[in-house]
Symmetry: C3
Subunit: 402 residues, 3 copies
């Protein structure tokens, strides 16, 4: 990228950013649907500014010292590295909270521990998506503890809680997806009237979290898109969020509808996002059994669900299915890793030929996440992030020796 | 804090600091009682200077590159994060030594490994408090290996060994406690004649280390305080350290006495520090069984000890007990986490109402530890830490973008 | 070291370095024998420059932000800390890839994961030496994925894969060893005609990797040395690499021969490198059993091998053996940890008196590895590393506050 080019692009983004009233300063980023569009788009403008500066080898280091803490209650590589990348780009030292070493339960322990680890922390990234009804609640407990600690002057600064995937939402994923759409279609405004199929797809595993599809239907209808949610009967998402999706569509002039056919969802779609998940009723049941330690019932539930899944093996994104989309050339999206038929499993969410065609595109989609996380931290930690970013741009300190 | 305010405060601290002869340069910080008061107070002045600069968002980064290594032989969250925080504040990269991956035993292995990991290390923080008679000895083995490596020019610098809790002492805790007392009472000098009750308290667990109460009685009598050590008969601390406490009290003009009643200890106390521990004789027995892998005997010992503990459930810091203290308003202290009756256990060290009243105060007490650790590293690694700190103060580089 | 001294030394190294055509930029460092001497010696000149600057407390930080990723498929302390040290010296944030949390197998997963973790990575250090036929192959899979990701503009930079020990070679060890020889003998040129005994030695363990002796015979014959490889009959190294050793010797005017007697190898040797390994045929068998999960056969193989080993207990580097060497004063080398008779085992590779005589020398040998790793990263990541290093030298930014 030529030097002038990135400077102009970033300047334009910052001009827009500085006029936003995001309300994020000294707060957290937990759910997109509780954030104003100024916050959503502020994050995207910040993320894109950071990305352009990194590609131009300009330093984005805004912290001299300080911690970025992560707490993963579920296995993770991609999000773990995305968070580590964000920490490094901003100049923070990553420290991973290992619950195997210290179990932090509820109440007193959370309140105390959140303060004990945060004396110079700028962010606490949390992934907690296993138990329906718990992840978001846990993040709010941490958030309240940090607010108390900061108000009581125990903490000289108020770290931001960043939702790295909860039982409800996966905002770093959905904002990466939105950023990808923005860059593929040229502008957020161009998404208006575009049809996206957010659809269930068959997978030989079960218990996949709901937060990805919920994150998509909770965000994309706000941009005037025609969002079609498709799944076999019974594979429902949480009703509250489905309801929100409809309301957002009305407000934005877009549309939101649900169908029970992948074919129908794909028809003339501009974008398809086929991805497996478990019905929320199953996740509720599973949560109850997991809490109760009822492993026999868990095994039975898994067996039953896999059998039900197996009735829907035709929910595969393959060449025939793609032909139904706009000019047969819809943008295929996935949060990765995908269950690829004949590659990672016998039969899965997507056929090998379709995935291979879009493989590098899905890598690009994923490449936005570190910048989205870094942007969320910046928005929450600085009162005027546009000023900070403009200073970085003006200083243009090299990110690596030249 | 206003800019002038922190500048004046730090300047005063550094004026005092620069006149001290600490003897810490190129040495370790293992036990407070082998350090002169110049070293103790030098650490506190440095820690307080660092804290004031961090609160004023001034960079405390004194290392461009280098490692801060930690080795935890016992579970830890608080101290682990305190050490990570200290490393970040000074500009060091934290690397945790995982003994699950490499067991370093004694002799040759320690000598070699200590050198192999230390080529650019500035500090090695060690927590080893499980086996009576081992933790301190292990730290000294590491220390000797580092001295040999440095003298033989294998290591271009001599990393500091920082005791993050041994079988004998817990200096980062006791110095945080002393710093807390200094800030609560305005000055170390004001501690003279103040009565502190260091007392055993009931806990439904057993085998809690002795290093916290030993650290307190090995330090506070040096400040002219009236230190009362209270515990049920049989819950003795190591005799050597109890003896030192008495000597220190004599030297300083304070007092040290032992009683077998929490009530007596609390009577008219200015400060109370109720905390459970296991008798040193039990810890010796436990160490022997653990070494011998005698799990049956360990189980029997635990059962016996818990039964003995249970005879002393009245050793609880509750509202009635607090009424005995000076104006009923003694400062309650704890190293955290406390066993809180009705919260973290059925009955424990402290009642819920007393703990809640002092909860945020205990958080503040804990907040000093990262700065104490950073100060110990600075004192050991720089010949003239006051000069380094004054340079930081003058340069006043922002700790975060503004 | 006086200031002038290190400046002159580094300047001389950089004068040589800048004339080299290493071909390493945007590539990997996997096997020494596929690298030209310009690459080998470029790494050594860079490593020595970095080392001299670190000893003079000059900053070697060339990255403002960015990740250094490591992936260890085998236990490691020394190499893990050497890599962490290199990362810190260059200014990179270390992130360890934990395969317990995410198993990355072959094909699709490697390709995808390599990209997902690398958005701002500058290096990926990999240790994979357990399965014969796999480690090097895995590193090349990662390498190809990174090349694709970079060419497709998914990755703004192309991270370097650094071989931290594979089934074939251990280049960070062999280059540290070469650097040690250079510094002990004054110059690489002085190695010409020197006799080195690379010999098997008895150890009470089995299954030690072949990469250390293979790395030595694949490198040292390129420097005109007289390399004698000695082992009991049947303890063969991989034939391909033995063949390369012979060819290199011919090209350089040195010599390479194999004998079946430690005594013969030690005769008049300038340098001895006695180290245990398992025959490659055993490693092949072991790999097959490990893959097949055939634990009974593995146990039988181990028993058989230990019995065979035990026939060669006289392959010990002791005082009598050392008397055979040049003036009885050959340089003893080892990659550490050594099996020391009467210290780390009943009988092992080296007697306690011989090891103690050379102990600190082996520590020095090991001390080069962090610099070799840092140098490999610099060579792969910068088109003109000599210019970058000269800039560091001229700027002479302190590595620690003064």
């Amino acid at each position: 990228m030529s030097q002038n080019n990135y400077e102009e692009l970033v300047s334009a983004l910052l001009f827009s950013l500085q006029q936003r009233d995001t309300g994020l300063h000294n707060r957290d980023f937990l759910l997109t649907w509780e954030q104003p569009l100024d916050a959503i788009e502020g994050v995207i403008e910040t993320a894109e500014s950071l990305r352009l500066m990194v590609e131009a080898d300009i330093s984005t280091r805004v912290f001299d010292t300080g911690l970025a803490i992560s707490l993963f209650r579920d296995q993770s590589t991609r999000t773990r590295f995305a968070y580590a990348t964000a920490a490094s780009l901003l100049g923070l030292s990553l420290v991973e909270f290992d619950e195997k070493k210290t179990q932090i339960a509820h109440g007193e322990t959370v309140r105390e521990t959140a303060n004990m680890i945060s004396f110079v922390a700028e962010s606490i990234g949390i992934r907690d998506d296993i138990y329906l009804g718990e992840g978001d609640a846990f993040m709010r407990e941490v958030s309240e503890a940090l607010t108390e600690g900061h108000q009581s002057k125990i903490l000289p600064q108020r770290p931001a809680v960043v939702n790295l995937q909860s039982d409800l939402d996966h905002p770093t994923q959905s904002l990466s997806d939105l950023m990808h759409l923005r860059n593929e279609f040229g502008d957020l405004e161009n998404l208006r009237g575009k049809k996206i199929a957010v659809t269930w797809a068959y997978s030989p595993s079960y218990g996949k979290p709901l937060s990805v599809p919920q994150g998509l239907i909770g965000l994309l209808p706000r941009y005037g898109m025609d969002v079609v949610l498709a799944h076999p009967e019974g594979y429902d998402l949480l009703p509250d969020i489905v309801e929100k999706a409809g309301e957002f569509a009305k407000e934005s002039g877009g549309s939101f509808k649900q169908v029970n056919s992948m074919e129908e969802a794909f028809e003339d779609a501009d974008i398809v996002y086929p991805k497996s998940w478990a019905p929320y009723q199953v996740m509720e049941q599973r949560t109850a059994y997991l809490r109760g330690g009822e492993s026999d019932k868990l095994d039975a539930l898994e067996e039953e669900c896999l059998a039900t899944n197996a009735k829907h093996k035709n929910w595969e994104c393959n060449a025939d299915m793609m032909k139904r989309t706009k000019n047969g050339e819809a943008l295929y999206m996935h949060c990765l890793p995908a269950d690829i038929s004949g590659v990672s499993c016998e039969q899965g969410e997507v056929s090998a030929d379709v995935f291979e065609k879009y493989r590098l595109t899905t890598y690009r989609e994923a490449s936005y996440k570190p910048y989205v996380i870094a942007a969320m931290i910046m928005m929450c930690r600085f009162a005027k992030p546009a000023d900070i970013l403009r200073e970085l741009l003006n200083e243009a300190k090299p990110r690596r020796a030249r």
